[in-house]
Assembly symmetry: C2
DNA sequence: CTGAAAGCGCTTACAG
DNA sequence: CTGAAAGCGCTTACAG
């Protein structure tokens, strides 16, 4: 791909601070100062520069500024597959939050075939100030990520944590969330509870499962089944169909995330099972889709805004500490869990 | 946000080509050449440089390179709201396609309150080579976009076109797609056809509607109703409910996109109407969700890959021409349109 | 093929 | 407050 120059080709010469300084009859330093927020410059000078800049259509070159200041203002956002709508939502909110802070988001993709380290290296050549990874493709078996922060740029895992690695991470308090899901289902009178899990190698999955099982145990129960595979709609459907075929249909299911829970709902419907009369279903995330008329899914919401703020705060903190930063989930009560029995 | 330096603070000094040249005992130009693909340099020299670079952990600074070469390798991706899953999909595929070409994607958001021109200006300070806008928030009343390409960077509208402006755009052939939808519905025996539209100010909406109406007219029919508002699920639901309340329930509906059509499906279901027995429904886009068990939506697929390739090709072309570049939609036959009557 | 040097467009001590 | 100058880390004619 090469650059083309539509419109007047002559105009395409980039106008620089030198051009402006000439036009305004001041030094080049002056024009630089005029465009630097806290700089020592008289209002008259600044105005004079602005007028000339306006006239010439001057815009400071952020690349040159980055080189000079040694701060790019760029944060890398690294995403894998986007099957789960939770991620696009997080992605765009991150981009906005970054912009609000005067930063820019460099979007990088990461697929299963490549080591995430390569992606990070590629990003770091742009002198990124931090990298936020949305680990749709990353589980605890991921290699070498532990070394990343050595390069000097902080890496933050969003919505997952890797135990024992020196990485920043922010996530929902999935363990408590798992407990909450169990609690809600138990309250509704359910006794045959199943968990349909996502990728078993992820902390997200594990924490939700452990919290769920822990709470069940406190009521003297164990899960009926905990089939787990991946955080995808198809899997939610499949697992439900399998359970049914095996004659193990539960009276309540906790889907490891909403997209799975929605699969469960669709499968149940195709099986002619009524929700919540025969089977209660609860999910996790509260993606937009869960509120739809066709689902009205009861779920545990991840406090996305708070998590994003916190992620950015952690990245800005010189001594953040490496444990996962946890945020409590919030129960969103809709129509897929039976009302509590009296 | 400031940079922190985890790990060994001493290590955080960026290693530059000078460090490498010193280590390798060669000139700085040599190390630059070693990292420049087509450069004239002997294999021995290159290897020597690579060894030193490896030892020091050197990575070329892309920011400095950009400044020097006057080519940033950065393409801006500008997105608005992401209610429609079509866009995240397009977004991540664009990012991948760009990476495959050695380019980087700068992600910018654009909300309704701000002029898109501001967003483009912000982007252009990073010396972007092109901007691709996903016009979820942009309709034909958008101001000033016509001036954008003056700045020297080509702007491409994805999935929409603005008549009469000198902008690149690639889109599906929505007019033919609208005709195709009408055709399919007519073949199924429908006679009372409605179109539930999106934002009436968009070319996407208009072209689909016009094609649809045109084909209907050829069969001596007119649309039963064409309520239009926005490309959102909620609107699909609402419009269907309204039609029903007004006693105008059609025997076939063409949803201006899949997300609307899915809303229609959900509303129909809540009304106790059977699809496709009582009402046929067809959508547009073929988002992943449309294939789900609960919907199995018959729809017209936008050839996303081809559109993305073409977009990148157009951006690389010095003389692209400004008409919209149209790609034919493909009928995806699933379960929401009645089989053709004999 | 290799090196010394100028230059990309800024920022920022340093003097005044 | 203002200007001249050095420097950020590369690339690329220009000589050799």
């Amino acid at each position: 791909m090469t650059i083309k120059t539509p419109g007047s080709p002559g105009t395409s010469q980039r106008v620089t601070s030198h051009d402006v300084s000439r036009e305004a009859g001041v030094s080049q330093s002056a024009v630089s100062r005029a465009f630097t927020p806290g700089a020592r410059i008289s209002p008259e000078m600044r105005q004079r520069v602005f007028d000339a800049a306006q006239k010439l259509g001057y815009k400071p070159n952020a690349i040159a500024r980055s080189l000079s200041t040694q701060r790019s203002g760029i944060v890398a956002l690294i995403v894998g597959e986007l099957h789960n709508p939770f991620y696009p939502q997080a992605l765009s909110q991150f981009a906005q939050a970054l912009e609000a802070r005067g930063k820019r988001a460099l979007l990088l993709t990461h697929d299963a075939r490549q080591d995430i380290q390569e992606t990070l290296d590629a990003a770091s050549s742009y002198q990124i100030e931090a990298a936020i990874v949305f680990p749709t493709r990353l589980n605890s078996t991921a290699p070498s990520l532990g070394d990343v922060s050595q390069g000097g740029v902080p890496v933050l895992l969003f919505n997952r944590h890797l135990p024992g690695r020196e990485l920043l991470s922010v996530a929902c308090d999935n363990h408590s969330g798992g407990r909450l899901a169990a609690q809600v289902l138990l309250n509704s009178g359910a006794r045959r509870l199943a968990f349909i899990g996502g990728d078993p190698d992820t902390s997200t999955h594990q924490d939700r499962l452990n919290g769920f099982v822990e709470r069940l145990a406190e009521s003297g129960l164990g899960p009926l089944a905990t089939p787990s595979l991946s955080f995808r709609y198809d899997w939610g459907v499949q697992a439900t169909l399998d359970l049914h075929a095996a004659g193990h249909l539960p009276d309540a299911v906790f889907g490891a995330n909403d997209i799975i829970a929605i699969g469960v709902l669709d499968a149940l419907r195709s099986l002619g099972r009524r929700v919540p009369e025969e089977v209660s279903v609860i999910g996790f995330d509260d993606i937009q889709e869960s509120a739809r008329l066709a689902y009205r899914l009861t779920t545990i919401r991840q406090p996305l805004e708070a998590m994003i703020e916190d992620a950015l705060a952690a990245l800005g903190d010189p001594q953040p500490g490496f444990g996962p930063r946890l945020h409590p989930g919030e129960l969103i009560w809709r129509d897929t869990v039976r009302a509590a029995t009296a």
